[in-house]
Structures are given as structure tokens and as C-alpha cells.
Amino acid sequence: MSWNPSGSDLTIAWLLLPFLAAFLAALVPRLGRPLILLVVATTLAMALAAWQGWLPSDLLLLGPFGVRLQLDQLASPLLLLTALVSAAVLLEGWGRAPDKPFLLLLLLLQGGIDSAIVASDLISIYVAQEVVGISTFLLLVQGNRPPQLWIGLRYLLIGNSVMLLYLLGAALVYREQSSFALQGLEQSSGMALALLLVALFTKAEVFISGLWLPRTNAVSPAAVSALISGGVVCAGLAPLLRIAAAVESVGPLLRWIGLASALLGLVFALAERRVERLLAWSTISQMGMVLLVPAVGGFYALAHGLAKAALFLVSARLPVVSLDGWRAQALPWRHGAPLLLASLSIAGAPPLLGFLAKEQLSVALAGPKAGLQAADLLPIALLLLSVGTAAVYARLWLLPGNADEAEEGQPASPGALLLVTALLLLNVTPWALEAWKALIGQGMTDALLKSAGLLLAGAGLQRLWPTGNDGYRLPDLEGFDDLLGGAVLVGAALVLLLSR
């Protein structure tokens, strides 16, 4: 008797593995780290298989009303990102005694994110979002101190409230289409679509529905912040990108929300005085950029997530977290190099992955696909936003030196090193090489000059921008009621815009 696993068996086994591993790790704590490595390795393999099309890309389980999974090229970069971030977080805590609940939750989180990325019907997406939400909440309250409890509670309460709106939207879709398939969304009413989108915007940390992020990142440990920016965000982005692919008419709306989100994040990031909060505002800004062209959004999210997670891991090891005294500190190379490389990647400096992602985005925006009347303005808007991004990260640039006092302090962050290496090495994978080839065909020198110009303009802008004591005050929008109000405002605006 021979056993021939089919492609769908493999996919199901891969999705189940993290949860089984979590149970096993609860019984045999010693196995926690090896099991996470196994889960990370299988997710990496699945990301590769999804890109190459080795496995069936569209699975319909349990009949036409059942679960639909799509293991396609949209899922591939996001799977790669979440696996690498989990691996980095694991490496980060390798030298210390294993923290049993943390390892368990990491397994659950990875399982939830994997499912959310490949899920392709409204209900599977809902369940996966809730698994991710609960594991993130438990990770946030790990320390059991009141601020952590409050931040975790905020996250869960808002996340669950918007997911209730999502369920209502799913019910409306079913009433109209008698199906929970994403493909039916094209014909469904604007009301249903608006309810689905507001929930996913909150989960994907976009615009004012993402306002929960800065304070969450400021309170949570670096490892959890890295997971939120690199992994948890994928769970919200993947369904958004799928909806954008299924419903063509939603493209312009996503583009406007993306532009607004990018601008909002930049203005707040430029005024911020603490590193983690600057990184969080910049995440809100970058998630807006991902939505500009959903077709290349996954790749952009990959480049951003790797760099952002690395920045969180490094910044936690620095003696100074306030940007006011930032330039006065002596930064040793072991922290300075990953910090510089990761922030340069997000700002779009070659030859890092962020440069390639930004170039792809600008090519896609300039192409005929941008269906706005104001299409000519979009590349200019992207250019200005890129200068702003460079200015935000210019605040972190600080040439490392080998000062005597720098020799003390924390050792290098292994997780950040892994992520920065990935930012460099992913450039020589076949699909990135293809993108490079296309770029060289279109005039490499122009792109390089443009990038240099952007970085210089950003550095100049940062010098001009009033920060520190002579800076400006922005409203504090991060109270609990502000977060709820932001989500409700976005929801109401979407209902009004889409129900025309």
C-alpha cells in the first residue's frame, strides 16, 4: 500500500502543523524551539512552492460552500516575510532561558497568520483574523503589568468590534450572493464591502483606523513589536490585497486611502520624539504605500516588514530611545550597521530590497493601469512621499564609531542580522533578479540617480523640519475613544463613498 499525498493534503498538513506543534510544545517544553524552526522551515518551503506553482494554487475544501485556500503568488512574499520575522524573533531570545508561554504563542500566531494569508473566503478569513487577534493579545499582556494589560485590552476590544462589523458585512454578502466567496464581492452592495474593508483597514494598520499602533509599539517588548509590524500586519493585508484583486472598482478608493495614510504617518513620524513611536507611525505610512498598487503590494510589504522588524530589534538594544539625545550617543558598529542598512532599505537605497520594491511601485503607478483622472499626479505624489520617508529615516542615520563607551552595552542582535542579511540576499533570488533585469532594461542609471536624489532631498528636508524643542505639537489621537472614533469614521466614510 502506497501513500501518495496530494497537493491539498500537503497544504492542510502545513496549516495544521503550527497548532499541533503548539500542543506538543505545551507537553514537552524542551521541543519548543525546534518546533518553531520546523514551522518556519515549512512556511518558507510553502512560500517557495506558492511562487513556483508547485502545489495547486486554488483549493476548495468541503464543497462549494466550504473553505477556499489560495496558495498563489500573492501569498508568497507575505509567507516569506512572516516566516523570516518569526525566525528572527526566535533567534533573538536564543541565548536566554526559553520562555515557555512565549514560544507557544509564537507557534499559534504563526499558524493564524499562515491561515489568514492563504484563506480566500470571507469566513475562513474571519476565523484566521480572530486567531491572530487573540494570540497577539496574549503576547501583548505577557508581562502582566497594568500598561501592558491596558494596551492588550485596547487591541482586543477594538479588533473584535471591527470584526463584528466584518461579520455583518459577510452576512450581507451571503444574503445577496448566497455564497461567502470573495469573487461574489464584485456584485455585492457597497454597504457590505464598506463593512469588510473597515475591519481589514484596522487590522492592516492603515490610516486613522491604524491609530492603535504607536502606543502599542511603545509599550510592547521589541520582539512583539517586530512580530506586529512584520507578521500580524500580513494577516490584515493579505485579505485586503485579495479583495482589491477580486473587486476592480475598489482600486481608486484604496489608492486615496493609501495616500492619506502615507501622508498622515509621515507628518506624525517627523514630529515624533521616541524611536519606537517613529517606527510605528512610519508603518502606518508604509502600509498606505502598499495599498497604492495592490498588485505589487505584497512585495513592498515584504521589503518593509523585514526592515521594520530589524529596526525594532536593534532599537531595543540601544541605550538611547529618545530622538532628542540620539545624535549624542556613541553607536557601536554591531548596532549601527543593521540600523543603517534597514533604515536605508525603507528609504529606498540600492542595492537593498526596499529600493527594488519602491522602483516596482513607481513603475506600476506610472503604467497604464492607474485608472484615475489624476493619474499623472500619482507618480509625483509617490516621489514626494518617498522624500518624506527618507526624511523620517534620516532622523535615525548616525555614523557608527568605535568609541570606548560603545564597547559596553548589549551584544549585537542576531535577529536583526538575519533580517538585514535577508534584505541583501533576497536580491539574488531568481524572481528578484528578473525584476532587476527589467529595471536595467529601463535605464538603471536614471533609477540610481533618482534614488540618490531622494535620499539627499530627505536628509535636507529632515534638517529643515522643525523637531525637538522648537518642534510643533500635533494633537494626541491615541486615546481609546480616538481609536474607536477613527475606526467608526473610516467605516462611515466608506459606507457613504461606496453606496453611491
Binding site: E130, I151, L168
Partner: protein, 126 residues
């Protein structure tokens, strides 16, 4: 009576359930106490769950279980099992999340017994 006959019962029910969701959302937004906010979320959840049950009852009310022995000739008014099955999952998830929230609230009550969201916000600030 003609007006009453003209009103579709389903439309009325639907409107009432959406109103329930809306009321819950308002409670979540306007109440200052964290505990009442969680209750508001629960009211929202009740509205959403009832809406799913209503959607599945559009075709009829009969429990969709076939056992072969009983035959209903010419009778097809089964309830739709798909939304019912789906909402069961959501009920379980909603309950567990509420339990988690209440545990966290119990802990926070020892820090600030008033449980006012505005005062608890000071906790997350640097």
C-alpha cells in the same frame, strides 16, 4: 390593515437587528466605563448573530436535518444551514474573547476601580 399586510416581516426584523448592532456601537463609542463598553460590544455581537439566523431563515424555518424516514411532499421550506453553521464558530469566538476581556478588566480594576477609559489611557503614555 392593508398597510400592515404590505410590510414584509423580514424587512422589519432585519431593520431591528441592524438597529441592535448600531445601538451596541453607540454604547461602545459613548459610554465612558470600560465595562459598559464591553457590554456594548456584546450587544453588537447579539445583533450580528441574530442577523445571521435571520438570513438563514429566509427560505423557511424547518431544521435542515434529513433522516430519510419522514417525507414532506412538495415541501421545501428548509432553513439554510450554511449561515447557521458559520455563526456557531463566531458565537464561540465571541464568547472566548469576551471572557479574555473581562479577565483583563478585573485586573485593571485593581489599578483604577472607576474603569474609565479616559483615565486608563494614562497607563499607556510615556
Amino acid at each position: 390593515m392593508a398597510i400592515v399586510d404590505a410590510i414584509d416581516g423580514f424587512v422589519v426584523m432585519e431593520a431591528l437587528m441592524l438597529l441592535t448592532v448600531f445601538t451596541g456601537l453607540l454604547g461602545l463609542l459613548l459610554r465612558r466605563s470600560l465595562f459598559l463598553k464591553v457590554m456594548g460590544m456584546d450587544v453588537m455581537g447579539t445583533g450580528v448573530i441574530s442577523f445571521f439566523v435571520l438570513v438563514s431563515a429566509r427560505g423557511g424555518f424547518r431544521t435542515p436535518i434529513l433522516d430519510g424516514s419522514v417525507v414532506f411532499p412538495g415541501d421545501n421550506d428548509w432553513a439554510d444551514p450554511i449561515p447557521q453553521a458559520v455563526i456557531l464558530t463566531a458565537v464561540v469566538i465571541g464568547l472566548s474573547i469576551q471572557a479574555l476581556l473581562l479577565v483583563a478588566i478585573t485586573r485593571l480594576a485593581s489599578v483604577d476601580p472607576s474603569l474609565e477609559a479616559g483615565r486608563l489611557d494614562q497607563l499607556g503614555r510615556d
